[in-house]
Symmetry: C2
Subunit: 337 residues, 2 copies
């Protein structure tokens, strides 16, 4: 693919020679708020464009020790909400001049190595958008130092070395619980996802506490080991298929939409019951599928855009403590509850 007659690598020196200035002036032309006169910059840019020159970000990063690059670690691709977060985060990062290194963490054992992988590229920050990051991994990460910032997105963590950006699970779940109560549901079933350690959600706990306190009994709880609609379908089937009708829950409150979608499928196609008339369902996240004709899912929307903007604020921030932040989302009432 090498074009003949064209130099293999155009550097700032080449452009400098062509424009009749020094190399440093060339690089200044490419740097915002650099001290350079408008007409020199124009002259340089003209030469650069003709020669197809663009600064080498590796060298820039090496020299300045800032890369404008952040690693995104993800491990849970079955959850459609991940796609939404990924899209929003990469879009907003790019809009604000940040590139993203995507690292697909294979499993829990792999998380540590993924972290080191990112650190070798000397990224300015590492963003965790997954579930399999437990204490060991986090402490290993810290002991390896080389991590400027370790950000946990859409999940809260108590680790002091970590910055957590997430919705306020307690507020959100309380709002959901109030809604469930106000609609007169009496036998809620809580469908929880995998339980994690360092970085977790406080949804199940909040819902159950709320219900026990207000209604004087604990809701039934089932747990799915992965945020995967098909797995959720299977767990709900096992939980409900042989039960007499009057012992069935009247609503399934799900930790997120992936679980809710699986639950709805089972209710409709395996149990042959109606949603919401026989069993209502409520989700969390508001994934694109939740809005489709088929699901029309009642769910809680996280303000992902706002969270992603704040994420970039954090990337660009100089301070390194007290950056945790929680957000409020909004209950989206559709047809399933």
């Amino acid at each position: 693919m090498k074009k003949q007659g064209l130099p293999e690598n155009i550097t700032a020196d080449d452009v400098a020679a062509a424009a009749g200035v020094s190399r440093w002036t060339v690089n200044r032309a490419f740097k915002r708020d650099a001290s350079i006169s408008p007409k020199t910059r124009e002259k340089v840019m003209k030469a650069a464009t003709e020669m197809g020159y663009l600064p080498d970000l590796r060298a820039a990063s090496l020299a300045s020790d800032r890369s404008n690059l952040a690693a995104l670690l993800i491990d849970d691709f079955a959850n459609p909400h991940k796609l939404v977060m990924l899209e929003r985060i990469t879009r907003i990062m790019r809009k604000r001049g940040w590139d993203s290194l995507l690292v697909n963490t294979l499993d829990r054992a792999d998380a540590g190595s993924a972290l080191l992988n990112a650190s070798q590229r000397r990224v300015d920050a590492t963003i965790l958008i997954g579930i399999q990051f437990d204490d060991e991994v986090l402490s290993a990460a810290q002991s390896a130092r080389r991590f400027r910032k370790l950000i946990i997105f859409a999940r809260t963590s108590n680790s002091p070395d970590t910055i957590s950006i997430a919705v306020d699970d307690e507020a959100a779940t309380t709002e959901i619980a109030h809604y469930v109560e106000s609609k007169g549901y009496k036998r809620p079933l809580y469908l929880a996802g995998p339980r994690t350690y360092s970085a977790h959600l406080r949804r199940k706990e909040t819902f159950c506490c709320f219900w026990k306190e207000r209604q004087n009994y604990a809701p039934e709880v089932f747990s799915v080991s992965k945020y995967d609609p098909m797995l959720s379908s299977e767990i709900v089937r096992q939980a409900l298929c042989n039960r007499p009708k009057d012992t069935l829950p009247d609503i399934i409150v799900c930790e997120n939409d992936a679980l809710a979608i699986g639950a709805i499928d089972t209710i409709r196609h395996t149990l042959k019951l109606r949603v919401p008339e026989d069993i209502a369902v409520i989700g969390f996240d508001d994934v694109p599928l939740a809005e489709t004709l088929n699901y029309r899912l009642t769910t809680y929307r996280q303000p992902i855009t706002e969270m992603a903007e704040y994420l970039v604020d954090v990337l660009e921030s100089e301070q390194d403590t007290n950056l945790d932040k929680t957000f409020l989302g909004q209950l989206v009432v559709r047809d399933t509850a």
Copy 2:
């Protein structure tokens, strides 16, 4: 987050001093098949581990002109199949030692700038997994040179400067068409996606030619401007909602699963008809949702894993011509056709 008392940046020099060897020996220890004695390597690695040293990949890339990094450009996050490709590609790349730079291309106008963005990081290859890459962008990319390899994934292109890795659309669509014919469908409707230029699919054309040749009439065709289930639902509704029953298609053949899912939703929930009894549906891709209880979609599965493995072969290949390759997938018959 700086740990006190620890040096800010541990370099190979530090490790060399600690291990009593030269810097070059330290770096050799980290390089496979480098000429180094086992016990020296062990000694170096021990010191390196204690000090938390890992080679700086930016500097390595700068010096060697190889980054083991490839850019992934994506623009179409509404299509669930993108998530599958992304997952598979990043997983296999990582397994084989490659990192990925994810670039979210905002729109067609942005594609060129995204390409330049990637080139500034001096990636070894740029992989296009989107639709909005037309001739202009590709030629701009080439004229900017700095692109070692430009790979178009899951789409074919005739550009000589490009490497295309895709399923054999003609073979796949022919298999689908044979299936449709053999099942006795008589009024197929082809639901196509957005039409593109340089990088395209040959599905619609193949299906229509096949049908015209064998049945002597052209199937009806509708086109959706984005691979988005909700948009597909809307187009199908407009196309079919006021039609007398006997003029409705008996099968909708969709360019991919995103469209098929939207079509099914409309058939069931808006037209109040049954799938496949009233209208059958067939998709393409075999996204995870296709397998769920709710859809049980008949579709064509692309061998993404195999394609991703080949992609890495291409990344590692020295030659730079004749690397295009097409793959055969498999028809997955479920309940919708």
